[in-house]
């Protein structure tokens, strides 16, 4: 297993370097540059040219890339022009907010997806399964931002059960119980929106996995041993069907990044996704590049994590 992990890590490094180059080149290809967004009409042409020179924007791209990469490696993504602060500092709080949103969403995805998938797979083609399958079709057809908007409108504005924006009630002391509770309260609706849509893949995958495992020969062997149905399901069918789901855990990160971009925007939740859209609008490119790179790295690490989990969980891969 260690051999496998090391080899997999070695593949990851060039992936990340390639990603950084692509991200950088794309950013350069965007119309305008770091200065376009905030040019003060009163500034003179000479002044602008001077700033360009000072920021190295006149250098050839590979010099710029080298300088940028050297900074990135040290955790320096440059300055945000909008906020007039280091990108790293700006992103840090947002990353933490998104982390909590993702964590709660992930828990909800599995808390909803596993029981539904299990029931649906065990009682396939009965009424309960048809209801659950109907839900998954709806979930596939509904874009997450539409669902988020509707949820916000009903539970936020109409019923007033949940806050309609932000990540915490202003004026609370960080670390207090009220603060944490308020954070959770702000998280619930956006997380639930992500989870209710994001879990349908898990439900369908688990369902088909269970239906498939149910008719395997080794299930007959288990029954022939005299195992009661409860044991046949828990020890053989569910266990064998959930293991591949565990392996998808890493890929789930990619889904969460995609989901949070829209959801944070809709719920005005100060996370990475929210910052991302805002920075694109304002052409705050150093922030955009930093966020794209970060998400890309997370996605690559997610895939790596999935492969490692799969190798731990499935003995047939483990020995290779």
């Amino acid at each position: 297993m260690w051999k496998f992990t090391v080899r997999r890590l070695l593949i990851t490094t060039p992936q990340i370097i390639l990603l950084s180059a692509i991200v950088f080149i794309l950013a350069k290809m965007m119309p305008g540059d770091a200065l376009t967004g905030l040019i003060d009409p009163t500034l003179s042409q000479e002044r602008i040219a001077e700033m360009r020179e000072k920021l190295g924007l006149n250098n050839p791209w590979y010099i710029q890339y080298r300088d940028w990469l050297a900074g990135v490696v040290q955790g320096d993504f440059g300055q945000s022009f909008k906020y007039q602060m280091p990108v790293t500092e700006l992103i840090w709080q947002r990353v933490i907010n998104t982390f909590w949103l993702s964590l709660v969403s992930t828990i909800m995805i599995y808390a909803i997806g596993l029981p539904l998938g299990i029931v649906s797979g065990r009682y396939n083609d009965r009424l309960i399964d048809q209801l659950i399958t109907g839900y998954t079709y709806l979930g596939f057809a509904t874009p997450v931002f539409i669902f988020g908007l509707v949820a916000l409108w009903i539970f936020g504005f109409m019923l007033g059960w949940f806050p309609t924006g932000g990540s915490v009630e202003p004026g609370l002391e960080p670390g207090t119980f009220e603060y944490i509770l308020s954070k959770l309260h702000h998280l619930l609706l956006p997380s639930l929106s992500i989870a209710l849509i994001g879990t349908v893949g898990t439900v369908q995958y688990l369902r088909s996995e269970i239906i498939d495992t149910k008719q395997r020969d080794f299930i007959i062997t288990a029954r022939a041993k005299g195992a009661p149905e409860r044991r046949v399901y828990n020890r053989h069918i569910f266990r064998n069907s959930i293991l591949p789901i565990a392996a998808f855990f890493g890929y789930e990160i990619i889904n969460l990044i995609n989901g949070s971009i829209f959801i944070e925007q809709i719920f005005s939740y100060p996370g990475m996704g929210n910052l991302f859209i805002e920075s694109i609008m304002l052409r705050d490119y150093s922030v955009v590049t930093a966020l794209v790179l970060l998400s890309g790295i997370l996605a690559i690490l997610g895939a790596l994590l999935s492969d490692i989990i799969l190798s731990v969980v499935d003995p047939r891969i483990r020995i290779k």
């Binding site: 395997r216 020969d217 029954r223 041993k225 005299g226 149905e229 053989h236 499935d314 047939r316």
Partner: protein, 340 residues
Amino acid sequence: MSNPLLEIKNLKTSFRIGEKYYAAVDDVSLNVNENEVLAIVGESGSGKSALAFSVMGLHNRAKIEGDIFFKGKNIANLPTKEMNKFRGNELSMIFQDPLTALNPLMEVGRQIDEVLILHKSNMPKSQRKKYIIELLERVEIPRPKHVYNQFPHELSGGMRQRVIIAIAIANQPELLIADEPTTALDVTIQAQILDLMRELKDDLNSGVVLITHDLGVVAEMADRVAVMYAGEIVEIADVDTLFNNPQHPYTRSLLSSIPLLDDAQDKLHVIHGIVPSLKHLPREGCRFSARIPWIEEDAHEEQPTLHEISPGHFVRCTCYKHFYFPDESKEDQNHDVAKS
């Protein structure tokens, strides 16, 4: 006389296809005594597995009619909960395909352990482990301690079949049903597994239902043989009688289709065609007549039933007397020509 170990009476196992039920096992009656090997032979699709699964109660959507007495208790349609006291315990089964019959994500030792946990709940864990290692030794698996922690995919087909046999014999069953235990294996491995099964059967004194379409296996292992065709038993006899004096045309065709190394001519006797699918089985008159079209219509019986033609030798239909293989008759004609 004591009761037979297993007594099947008028068993009919039907599967639902569309709106209707079709019998894959049709009015089968059989006995198996203690310490006796009953072989069930027949082509693929003749209902052998359906019969075995009925006895084990492993069908999940079949209609089962008739009686299956195991040690005097009728276990046909027994609720799962009660059936589970027998399964894996006094009544166990060996499956055809060792590559799929084990859970791929569970260590071999734990898969054997499961059958002990289920039926020997008061055996402590350390003792179970010791016993499992002994079992692995008994089914002649080398390095049993190592294999205990291995996964099925790390073992060859033959080794996996030994593991399945270990599971089946773990609780000293009184009746062992083996459904084509060697069909999926290489020829050399087949012989080893058969040797092992014969040894174990002698040790355990258990009754065995051995399902196979390999008559070589029958000759080696069986005490009595039941020949099945299209869900029905067409002939039952002790093994010597069956091999030396087969009566039903289907039995005769099976016997003459064993390829003999020194006589390629024997292949001539193979009766062509396959067992029709469940839905298309003829349900009236003789099910086999369609495959021997050279026999005149009026030679067939309308409702062929089993007749005891000598003690313990049952044959379906009486008109086997009219039956001949086409090339046999040619030979006869040749004789006639030679004589005249």
